[in-house]
């Protein structure tokens, strides 16, 4: 499985990577902003995207629109703080698949993967 993690927080990316590796997932691409994420998305097979909402330069919503212009089916899961949950409806209108509230737990991450990607994790 190929996972793309997009978050301007290095700590959050590292925690997500650690969790995914513990689930046996080795093909993990990470991006600190939306522009890098788009380049990685175009250059690599990606089965699921986990993306922060509140990022500098390109917001999670703008990134979502760019991804949907390229691929309409890949699951895109927004990572939000509780305070941004109100934005989820707007994101759903633009094609977000699901959301994960920060701070996420390994169980929460695994549940989202199991829901959206055919996996044995």
């Amino acid at each position: 499985m190929n996972v793309l993690i997009v978050d301007d927080s290095e700590m959050t990316r590292m925690v997500a990577k650690k969790t995914l590796k513990a689930l046996g997932i080795e093909n993990i691409h990470e991006a600190a902003d939306g522009q890098i994420a788009i380049e990685l998305f175009k250059a690599n097979p990606v089965d699921v995207v986990f993306s922060d909402w509140n990022m500098p330069n390109m917001s999670g919503l703008e990134l979502l629109k760019e991804i949907r212009a390229i691929n309409t089916t890949v699951p895109v899961i927004m990572i939000t703080t509780e305070g941004s949950r109100g934005k989820v409806m707007e994101a759903i209108q633009h094609g977000v698949s699901d959301y994960l509230v920060k701070p996420f737990t390994p169980v929460g991450l695994r549940e989202k993967l199991a829901k959206w990607v055919q996996t044995t994790v």
Binding site: D8, E10, M14, T80, T81, R85
Partner: protein, 161 residues
């Protein structure tokens, strides 16, 4: 009168902020926290070594600050990432910023009536720094102890319009 209204607003924010802090430390670090002080922030209050500042605005506007001594930040990185750090690196600053982001996001959810929008965290570090709040706000300071060490929160809000 405006200062009194701002003081009332800031005190209304205390419980949601503290509750969000308790939840965040429990979820992210599996750590309980103990409040060691709560009161008005004095103009000469020094913050700890690393402070994350987040602006919020909506029906009111203000700032939320989370400040860690370096040792608390190092232990937080150790617990989160199983990494030993002994200097203030971008990762250490990012970690304090992300904690502030999660606490402010959770508090914002509990203060839905204020319709706050949240900015990105800015980080200040250095010994003995201070953060100024608007003169018509009455910022509050809360100090805590935790399994990763002491830390403090400061926040001040003013009504808009």
């Amino acid at each position: 009168m405006k200062t009194a209204a701002s003081a009332s607003l800031t005190s209304q924010i205390v419980n949601p902020v503290i509750s969000a802090t308790v939840d965040t430390f429990s979820m992210m670090l599996d750590s309980s926290i103990t409040r060691t002080g709560l009161g008005l922030k004095r103009p000469d209050t020094s913050f700890y070594d690393i402070t994350a500042i987040i602006g919020l605005s909506g029906k009111s506007a203000g700032s939320f600050c989370l400040s860690f001594p370096a040792t608390t930040a190092y232990e937080t990185v150790h617990r989160m990432l199983d990494m030993e750090v002994r200097e203030i690196t971008p990762l250490v600053c990012d970690t304090v910023g992300e904690f502030a982001n999660v606490i402010a996001g959770s508090a914002k959810d509990k203060l839905a009536s204020l319709e706050l929008e949240m900015g990105l965290p800015n980080i200040v570090h250095g010994t003995g720094h201070n953060v100024e709040f608007p003169s018509n706000s009455q910022p509050m300071l809360a100090t805590f102890d935790s399994e990763v060490g002491p830390f403090m929160l400061a926040f001040g809000f003013v009504e808009r319009g």
